[in-house]
Symmetry: C2
């Protein structure tokens, strides 16, 4: 089956691209670590064409992109939309990359231009676009990651959001802080681990003391010989628990919580929410971003327009 378009999620340190069929399915995929940081040196067009070539994509297959490729330091700036903003605006306000033979569109991110609470996102807006669709109009979204986003969506409009540096702090602490001695070579946190769940509960109960709770990991190693895996799981639990406490305190409680995540992070956050007594609506982040990108593609390139791809390619 000929692809209808390509869709890419181009982050700071990661790159993913899919070929999408006419019926909206991903029929081929490539992932790499050629994120914005890499591509800013290697050349965005060069990286993109190399992957499209490896996927044997037609030369004029159009591409829709979300993420950091649209930042000021990226390929071509897709200026932030200011919230409150309708999710549909993301599609309307994409920019076309100039000077290419190929039709490449980059979706914009969101900015919260509130001097007392400025915030930005790039990439997550497309997951939201793909999540709040059909009969799902409103809710609170929790999007874990390097910079976790908590987003309030009302009637398909983003009304406000907050970023928590959970994933980045986790990485900094395990690699560079005194706690690196305690976590050692551990690198897997089990979602049902006792240490993870007690970390979640403790930090959720007293999130203000997070930097003190973190030090208990060091002290626990020194005084009680706590093992690396246990320390690693406790660290993960403490950071996630404090994020959930702060996120729930900022956004009105009682609304359905949509957990938009994949893989290990999905499992950890779901386990944490469940342990804290919160039901979640589970949304796969990979599916969500693809659905969001496809919404753009359908708009820019009505499918019948591309009936001659095979011919062009040959």
């Amino acid at each position: 089956m000929q692809p209808f378009c390509a869709a890419a999620d181009w982050g700071t340190s990661s790159f993913r691209i899919w070929l999408i069929s006419e019926d909206g399915r991903a029929v081929a995929e490539r992932r790499s670590d050629e994120g914005m940081t890499h591509a800013a040196k290697a050349g965005f067009a060069h990286v993109l064409e190399a992957h499209l070539g490896a996927l044997d994509a037609p030369k004029n297959l159009p591409v829709v992109i979300c993420g950091m490729a649209g930042s000021r330091q990226g390929w071509q700036e897709a200026r932030y939309l200011t919230v409150p903003a309708a999710l549909s605006e993301i599609v309307e306000r994409a920019v076309a990359v100039e000077g290419l033979d190929r039709d490449v569109r980059i979706l914009p991110g969101f900015a919260q231009r509130d001097p007392s609470h400025p915030d930005v996102m790039r990439g997550e807006e497309t997951q939201l676009l793909g999540s709040f669709t059909g009969r799902r109009l409103s809710g609170l979204a929790c999007m874990p990651g390097t910079h976790s986003k908590w987003v309030s969506v009302e009637d398909r409009c983003v009304t406000g959001f907050s970023t928590f540096m959970t994933g980045e702090l986790f990485s900094l602490i395990t690699r560079h802080s005194i706690l690196r001695h305690a976590v050692g070579q551990a690198e897997n946190c089990r979602a049902d681990s006792k240490d993870f769940l007690s970390g979640v509960a403790e930090a959720h109960a007293d999130p203000a003391t997070i930097s003190q709770l973190l030090f208990t990991i060091r002290a626990g190693q020194l005084l009680y010989g706590r093992e690396a895996t246990s320390s690693f799981e406790r660290l993960s639990g403490l950071l996630i628990g404090s994020e959930i406490a702060a996120g729930l305190s900022q956004f009105s409680a009682g609304r359905p919580i949509h957990l938009i995540a994949s893989g290990k992070l999905f499992a950890l956050y779901r386990s944490a929410f469940q342990a804290l007594g919160h039901e979640i609506v589970a949304i796969d982040a990979d599916e969500a971003v693809l659905t969001g990108l496809l919404a753009g593609a359908r708009r820019y390139w009505p499918s019948n327009h591309h009936a001659d791809y095979g011919q062009l390619k040959a």
Copy 2:
């Protein structure tokens, strides 16, 4: 005037030594970055003797040491005293370094052996010993640093304490996180800066959201072009404000707060406490540690015992 003894504060990454006169004054001083991490490779005795030699100290001048030199990874372990513990115990339970011609004593630190709140300190206990003396018997101590300590002292007994990783997080964030772009080359925070003080107030008002407040620094740079100095000062204020909020919430309010610090950190924390409406008792950390070390020296080496130093040296 002949020195009575030498006194050293031997931290993880810093080393300070003073020669102390009979009347308890520091008559000479050296500082270096030959902390435990360095000395564990170079040899503790070697580092110590080099500094004593440079100070022209008598060959048999005794030395009292506090800090990480007494840790398990240090020179010779001075096992933690378990709190609650009287400050006087620090002097009683010092260890003599074995196998030396010189009389060298290392003071022990404190451990809080509470599985739900384990904690440790090495070095700060000697500052406490030097601070809670004379008519000062009780109070809450705030000791800012890489790992800030908040300590409850009652009748010269440490009843409990908490460590906050404020200084280390500041260092990690400015050097390794996404915020390093926002703080740029800035390296000075003015204690009266508007950005510092608003950071203190915001984090103190909502310490649970610290990782979200941190990200506003990045967003403020992207959306409002916030300058490096402003970002640096805001970062400092946010971390200190959240520490103060958590510290005060954990330790009973209403007790006098003793700020034991020196230099820039003293100025920043004093300014933060004042802005938040808390009076403090100011104690110079350098004087405090010297007073604490001297308390040990007076006990181990009654002064008349060393009347023949000049003679021995000659």
